[in-house]
Amino acid sequence: MKTIVTATAVLAMLAGSVLAEENRQLEGRKGQFNILALNVGILGGMAKGAMPYDAEAAQAAADSIVGVSMVHQATLFPEGSDSMSIDDTRAQPNIWDNFSDFESKWAALGDAARNMQTVAATGQEAIGPALGQLGGACKACHDTYRAPE
């Protein structure tokens, strides 16, 4: 009896730690997308004219986007963390069928981010086109790899 109880307890603990690990990865990847959205929001607000252009703030936002784009994605997207396997994610299972394509789409975000980083402080009119490239990188990946809500 004791053995069964112990074994069950150990298994439960293991399952708990696997779950906790999964949550950290999920929170990590959602967090990075939130950081992206917040900073793209600053640049977008300036491009739309909804907020006054500020070269320093634009540069800081662009730098932050570059920072996020440097995060290695494989760490945050382990096998089995797709929308069919777990709750609270829209990551489509096909990510893991085409992981190198998924990573190259993330790399395209990096290219767009570095372009934004170069032009963000040069003036309000430079933001729109650079934002277009950034948005294109978001779309290209979401088009294929993110499930609808």
Binding site: V40, K48, G135, K139, D143, R146, P148, E149
Partner: protein, 290 residues
């Protein structure tokens, strides 16, 4: 059971009437005879109508999306439809006349006189002006040819009987607009006719007809899990500027980005003018709550 003799002619007449009623309708030839297509305006129509989004090959990227080889699958409650090859080749529309093209686009009838499935949104395109159909036809001729054969639809009985679509059309096929013009003819033409927004954003009844009393009020995603969002004011609280900006950049007001099939729709709208996007936004903001 033997039928009372008197009912036999009634049954024959009813069957004849049903056959006649379900016959594929065609456009009036005179409306098209004198028309010359303007391919340049056709390109605008092609973009606004999103032809390539469904007719490009499944994995095509960039310029390859102008090769309208078909092959993308569209799941529905009635079976899976495959977009056909509509490139100017023998496997596509190479031999089609303008009149045949107009019948397909605005009446849902192919070159052999058979009903087309309404997975092809002729239910929206039926409101296209004949000159616009001619312009679109002219533009399609300028695109690259592909010899890829069209894939047959995977549709079970009774939906595989094309004549039954005649009955479906009697019930659900109309060239009436849903919304009044409201001084925004361009926005209405873009939303209800060309961009055929209602095809995904409006829920359908059990027979696959659009429930126009819940026009653009959101619907389940026919391609799998999730929903297509509502555009009506009880749900969508974006400003007109937000809608126009979304259609240009793919960014929501929270700077989340567009995904799924809508990403291709945004790619198309981004190529139209700011005025076109504003007209669509004005139409959306004028929608009533369902």
């Amino acid at each position: 059971m033997r039928w009372p003799r008197v009912l036999i002619p009634v049954a024959v007449i009813a069957a004849g009437a049903a056959w006649w009623l379900t016959a594929p309708g065609t456009v009036t030839a005179e409306h098209y005879e004198a028309l010359t297509g303007d391919a340049e305006h056709g390109q605008w129509l092609f973009t606004a109508a999103g032809c390539a989004s469904c007719h490009h090959a499944p994995e095509a990227k960039g310029e390859d999306r102008l090769v309208l080889a078909g092959g993308q699958a569209f799941a529905s409650d009635f079976g899976t439809f495959y977009a056909p090859n509509i490139s100017p080749s023998a496997s596509g529309l190479g031999s089609w006349s303008l009149l045949e093209f107009a019948n397909a686009v605005t009446q849902g009838v192919d070159d052999a006189g058979r009903h087309l499935y309404p997975a092809f949104p002729y239910t929206a395109y039926t409101k296209m002006a004949p000159q616009d159909v001619a312009d679109l036809y002219a533009y399609l001729q300028t695109l690259p040819a592909s010899d890829v054969a069209s894939k047959p639809h995977d549709v079970g009985f009774p939906f595989n009987i094309r004549r039954s679509l005649g009955g479906w059309k009697l019930l659900f096929f109309s060239d009436d607009y849903v919304m009044p013009e409201n001084g925004n003819a361009r926005g209405r033409y873009l939303v209800e006719t060309l961009a055929h927004c209602g095809e995904c954003h409006t829920p359908r009844n059990a027979l696959g007809g659009l429930d126009k009393s819940r026009w653009l009020a959101g619907a389940p995603n026919p391609n799998g899990k999730g929903t297509i969002p509502s555009l009506t004011p009880d749900k969508l609280d974006w400003s007109a500027a937000d809608v126009a900006y979304y259609l240009e950049t793919g960014f929501t007001p929270d700077f989340d980005s567009v995904g799924g099939h809508m990403a291709e729709v945004v790619d198309n709208f981004a190529k139209l003018s700011a005025k076109d996007r504003q007209a669509v936004a004005a139409y959306i903001k004028a929608l009533p709550a369902p």
